[in-house]
């Protein structure tokens, strides 16, 4: 039932999933993002890195419709989605997670995932209130699919736990599971490794590879620890102060003097040089 069954091309063909051009964001007089562009092809795993405050999350917030765009355009599978409401963008097939975990703390683990199925619910408000047969079927279907998802992430035994009572790592996994339950084609991960220890980071990187293969995803990933992206991303865009300063494979990026300067300051460039 994954989205990928519906959308044709296999990973590897060069169809563009996300195309951003000239994206700019002003907060009052502050230019947070300037003239950002990127083109992501189906099945790629692309990184977006930059120091704190470079504008990475702002870009994600514009792509997912949480912030209005000041200028520029965003196209998803060839369809213009600039300034569409966030819930419509999700329904089109862009899922995301947040840097600061945003699970639903007072809902159970199972309900956190079942919420994602609401736009596809096969019963309406009146079926729910009258407990019609359609309610029973629709609810059972949703529950089974949510349980399957939790099983993939090894969380099925936690289904009745309140999400706020989960340990940090499990909350991260729940957030990713929930984003995948919206049946996305493109998954935006905002600093998934934030606050994790080195061992958890290794597990997370394996998890990201695993979900990409299992759900045929295209992944766009933000990170500010270079080490994390270097390992998993096919190519990387680096931004600083809202502008693109470098782009390329992890090898190319690592040796780019502009990148070293952005991360370590100009002193370091001189030392390297």
């Amino acid at each position: 039932m994954a989205q990928s069954d519906i959308h044709g091309p296999d990973p590897g063909t060069d169809s563009t999933v996300l195309k951003i051009g000239g994206l700019t964001k002003f907060f009052g007089g502050l230019r947070a993002v300037h003239n950002f562009d990127v083109e992501i092809k189906r099945g790629e795993l692309v990184g977006l890195i930059g120091p704190n405050g470079a504008g990475k999350t702002t870009i994600f917030n514009m792509v997912t419709g949480i912030y209005p765009v000041s200028a520029g355009s965003i196209a998803y599978n060839g369809q213009e989605i600039t300034d569409r409401p966030a819930h419509e963008i999700t329904q089109l097939g862009i899922g995301r997670t947040f840097q600061k975990i945003r699970i639903f703390p007072n809902l159970t683990v199972l309900d956190n995932v079942r919420v994602a199925y609401h736009p596809h619910a096969r019963y309406n408000l009146f079926d729910g209130v009258l407990r019609s047969r359609r309610f029973g079927q629709g609810e059972r279907e949703m529950t089974e699919r949510a349980q399957e998802f939790l099983a993939v992430f090894g969380m099925e035994h936690l289904q009745d736990t309140l999400a706020s009572n989960l340990p940090y790592g499990a909350q991260r996994r729940l957030e990713i599971a929930r984003a995948l339950a919206t049946e996305p084609d493109l998954l935006l991960l905002d600093e998934p490794a934030a606050g994790m220890n080195p061992r958890e980071v290794v597990e997370l990187m394996e998890l990201i590879h695993f979900i990409r293969d299992r759900f045929d995803l295209t992944i766009f990933l933000i990170e500010h620890q270079m080490r994390v992206v270097m390992g998993i991303c096919e190519w990387i865009t680096v931004i600083d102060f809202g502008e693109i300063i470098a782009r390329g494979t992890s090898k190319e990026i690592q040796n780019d003097p502009k990148v070293i300067e952005a991360y370590l300051g100009s002193q370091a460039t001189r030392m390297v040089a």
Partner: protein, 443 residues
């Protein structure tokens, strides 16, 4: 222990039968004075109103203070309907019903028509077409004005037209049809219609108020809804200029005394079951998710604003139903019962019982009413100390049990339905299970 194994619907039915019939027996044998019967009925209808507020505040997280306004809208509109049928004020016994139904149908159809024509979208199309000849600013202004006119025309034609048709139809059809029934029965039918139209009108006004206000949060929403509460109060105070029989600040009198225990109890039972089924459905979960985190809910594909509006309007409809029952309990309505201060009462009930708990809300409503009336046993010179003692009790609860009596726990059939775990070999896997293990369990 045995009770727990009964199916939920059976537990609920048994509970309602025992309580409903039990109280009827007690009161018909005269074991409870008429005064205390009224207090219990007041507590029951306040429980309905508090359930509505719990939906807004506890489930949807909307800190809104205008609850008494909707309670008042339900009370006055239903009173106009029954008073016209039984006492008469407009000339035609169905005049009140015709008026309220005309407003409701006209309103609903106008909203449907406006959303059908997608006026916002049409405006953008027209602006883009016009910008070929005009500057963008001129095109935008012209398109907006044109669509405002079109929207206004739609409201007048569709809303006004259908409302007028409904009014004529009700005036012509209802008196002969209901007149054929025995008088007592026709009164009960009118009462049922009055309860429903009171609730629907309050819900529709809630929807209309919610459209501009619900993009606000927390204290801003509180102040804005407070403002609406004051507007409604001023309206009730001066309503005699519009409808003389509402009598404005002198208070509306001669409302038929139709609220009986079976009516109140049936309404409360239905309200409770509907609320439970609603909140434990996919729509309910969507509302809870919007409360917990509106931005995350949006990224789950949920239109946060739509669900806030739905919860708000439904909560207002509950207040309207409670108000309609209240109007026919004391047969007298005064604007002072619907000031914004009265909006605080259901708040106290919800917070006292436990925010986000139906059980707690109902318990809170009864505790509040019984406490306020129970303290009348005090000697006459201390009777005004009630308003010192009850706030002290509320203070004590907040200090020693800030989550309220029930917290967010539920009792009996109001509990979150248990979901069977999936039969799966890996049931005992640890919480810290890695992806590799997850993959292993998958294969």
């Amino acid at each position: 222990m045995k009770i727990r194994s009964l199916p939920t619907w059976l537990t609920a039915t048994l509970f309602f039968l025992v309580v409903g019939v039990g109280f009827q027996i007690i009161s018909s044998h005269g074991w409870l004075s008429g005064y205390w019967q009224q207090v219990i009925m007041l507590g029951t209808l306040m429980a309905i109103s508090a359930l509505g507020l719990n939906l807004k505040y506890g489930y949807a997280g909307l800190f809104a203070l205008g609850h008494a306004a909707f309670y008042g809208i339900g009370a006055y509109s239903s009173a106009l309907i029954t008073k016209d049928w039984i006492v008469g004020w407009s000339g035609n016994p169905a005049g009140g019903l015709a008026g309220v139904l005309a407003i409701e149908v006209g309103f609903i159809l106008a909203v449907v028509a406006i959303s059908y024509f997608k006026i916002g979208h049409l405006r953008n199309l027209m602006r883009d077409k016009l910008s070929r000849w005009l500057t963008p600013f001129e095109a935008s202004v012209l398109a907006t004005v044109a669509m405002l006119l079109a929207g206004g025309l739609t409201i007048v034609v569709v809303g006004g037209g259908s409302g007028w048709l409904v009014r004529q139809g009700v005036l012509a059809l209802v008196p002969p049809v209901l007149g054929a029934l025995p008088i007592a029965m026709s009164q009960q039918v009118i009462f049922l219609l009055a309860l429903l139209s009171g609730a629907v009108l309050a819900g529709l006004v809630g929807f209309l108020v919610g459209l501009p206000l619900l993009s606000l949060t927390y204290d801003y929403l509180c102040i804005a809804t407070l403002g609406f509460g004051i507007i409604t109060y001023v309206f009730f105070n001066n309503a005699d200029k519009l409808i003389p029989t509402m009598k404005g600040a002198r208070g509306m009198v001669n409302i038929p005394n139709l609220t009986t225990w079976p009516w109140v109890f049936a309404c409360a039972a239905v309200a409770l079951v509907v609320m439970r089924n609603f909140i434990y459905s996919s729509t309910g979960r969507a509302i809870l998710s919007v409360r917990d985190d509106p931005i995350a809910a949006e990224t789950m594909g949920i239109n946060a604003f739509k669900f806030k509006t739905l919860a708000y309007a439904l909560g207002c409809a509950y207040a309207g139903l409670a108000g309609a029952l209240y109007a026919h309990l004391y047969s007298f309505l005064h604007p002072s019962n619907f000031t914004w201060l009265k909006s605080v009462d259901p708040f106290v009930m919800v917070v006292f019982g436990g925010v986000g708990s139906m059980t707690g809300t109902v318990l809170g409503a009864y505790t509040f009413e019984l406490l306020l009336e129970g303290l009348r046993v005090l000697p006459a010179e201390f009777i005004d100390w009630r308003y010192v003692i009850y706030p002290l009790i509320v203070l004590a609860v907040m200090l020693f049990r800030p989550q309220g009596l029930m917290g967010n726990k539920e009792w009996g059939f109001l509990k979150l339905p248990k979901i069977a775990k999936k039969e799966h070999g890996q049931g005992e896997a640890s919480a810290g299970m890695s992806k590799a293990e997850a993959q292993a369990s998958e294969n």
